[in-house]
Subunit: 301 residues, 2 copies
């Protein structure tokens, strides 16, 4: 998850209490009756410094005894839920049943994990991302991504519920108030796309476009991790930083690409964006912090 | 739990597939949004041979990582839920939400655990046992028993919902069809009492009284484990096998007491019951099997 790595870098440079993170909930899923918010949890665990460094999701030093027992009752599991991670999902599910919003619950969880940044689910209403593969019925995102290991030619992304779900007032206020906004090097269709699809979000970003940067998730013609490149291809976009820049040109004034892609600087500038090339491969926290520094300076923060 | 030990003994002597166990659900409780049926689970785990032998409840070799993480979110837990045990509660809770009955769910769980005996929750409708201590408001059973460690002078037992809850047709049919019925040496008020309080259960047992035995949970003036003796005292009953026999005289024809209590044989016979004295301390499975043999022979099975 490029967003999590970038956040870790940002948190090295800036005090967490000055950060607000608007997080996709389109890939939330119910497992065993529990409401799981994979992106929200990854952001919390990352900023809390307890994320499993090997996977980038879940908790470090986790055990999976409940899951193996669930396998006995339900058949082989395909989504990994650690024992301590389960506590997070139990907490969220119980609070939702009590009528609390995802926003409230996320704030409670973040506080328990001593995360000072504001973690803001994009919406308190359900959005479900479906991925349609060639010749198949649309699959809920986690079934495509985890169960199906992101294999197959992507034909279409459906953001079910995105037309009816409203962004939270906290998320919109964060966009309005921020001195700088960075669209992380995440999947433009299934990570950033659901947020942008909510009514008013594109407009809110466009209104502060001067303060918005986006970082290309495409480096050297592919993604570091994840299926963004395959999705771009399948959905008819050019698989390059330029292809991504086109998606964000109306909402971001600055586009950040990797040095290996410097030849795209001019074509991106021709879209009406500022463009800079830097090292965007966040192979360790220092390099993530360096990227955060470059981006924030370019936004004059 | 005297019932579980006795069941283990029964299962040594008889084929499990011939056994039906009607189980108390009055001490069911919700923890972290999960429906926990402690007595049902103890019976399943015991008959599956996977119960924690040290405690008599929960699973052998269990870990508690989810619970410790829940403690971080909710404050120090007082009810122990193991990681693999959680799978059982997750399964039950999800199936209840889907509209399945406790009876169906228990059968599903028993099958997954390869338990051949029929495990029958007493009711598919909620009954909640409350314990009123002197000078205090009534506490749900688990709060009294686990959180409060069964301390305090018991003034009253309230079986909330018992008037409205119906015994299941499976439980009533099992009583009607059984060649022999044993009321286990369990707490007469909070383990057996809720079952007997359901409309029609006492009548169903009275109709087959000749085939019903009860084993005294009081041996030498106290219980082996648990608060039955304190409850008998607090509720104004004689703390002896005779005191227990009086509770069951209309529904059981045979009363089984420990050899140390042989002086109660005649007083119990005077109640109109047959009475036998044998070793009722089930300190190991062999002795539990021996007790099961004595009781079943006395019922001519």
């Amino acid at each position: 998850m490029g967003a999590a790595k970038f956040l870790r870098g940002l948190a090295r440079k800036f005090d967490q209490s000055g950060l607000a993170v608007v997080v996709n909930t389109g890939d939330d899923e119910r497992f065993y009756g529990l409401h799981v918010s994979p992106d929200v949890d990854t952001v919390i665990y990352t900023l809390a410094g307890v994320v499993n460094p090997a996977t980038g999701w879940g908790l470090a030093g986790e055990t999976f005894n409940a899951l193996s027992a669930l396998g006995r009752l339900h058949g082989k599991p395909w989504f990994n839920l650690g024992d301590r991670d389960l506590a997070t999902h139990l907490y969220r599910t119980e609070r939702l049943a009590q009528g609390a919003t995802l926003t409230q619950i996320t704030a409670e969880l973040a506080r328990r994990f001593k995360v000072k940044a504001a973690i803001l689910p994009m919406s308190d209403e359900p959005v479900r991302t479906f991925v349609k593969l060639k010749g198949k019925a649309p699959l809920p995102f986690q079934e495509y991504f985890v169960r199906g290991r992101a294999r197959g030619a992507v034909e279409k992304i459906e953001l079910r519920g995105a037309h009816d779900a409203r962004p939270t007032t906290d998320a919109l206020a964060a966009i309005k108030r921020a001195r700088a906004i960075v669209i992380a090097p995440s999947n433009p269709f299934v990570s950033i796309g659901p947020i942008l699809a909510l009514a008013g979000v594109r407009e809110a970003l466009a209104a502060v476009r001067d303060r918005v940067a986006a970082i290309s998730p495409i480096v050297g013609g592919k993604t570091i991790k994840g299926p963004a490149d395959k999705m771009m291809r399948g959905l008819g976009h050019e698989v390059s930083p330029l292809g991504v820049a086109r998606l964000y040109r109306e909402i971001a004034s600055l586009f950040v690409i990797d040095v290996v892609d410097h030849r795209y600087l001019e074509p991106i500038r021709a879209l009406g964006m500022r463009a800079i090339a830097t090292d965007t491969i966040m192979s360790d926290p220092d390099r993530a912090a360096a990227l955060a520094t470059v981006v924030s300076r370019a936004l004059s923060v």
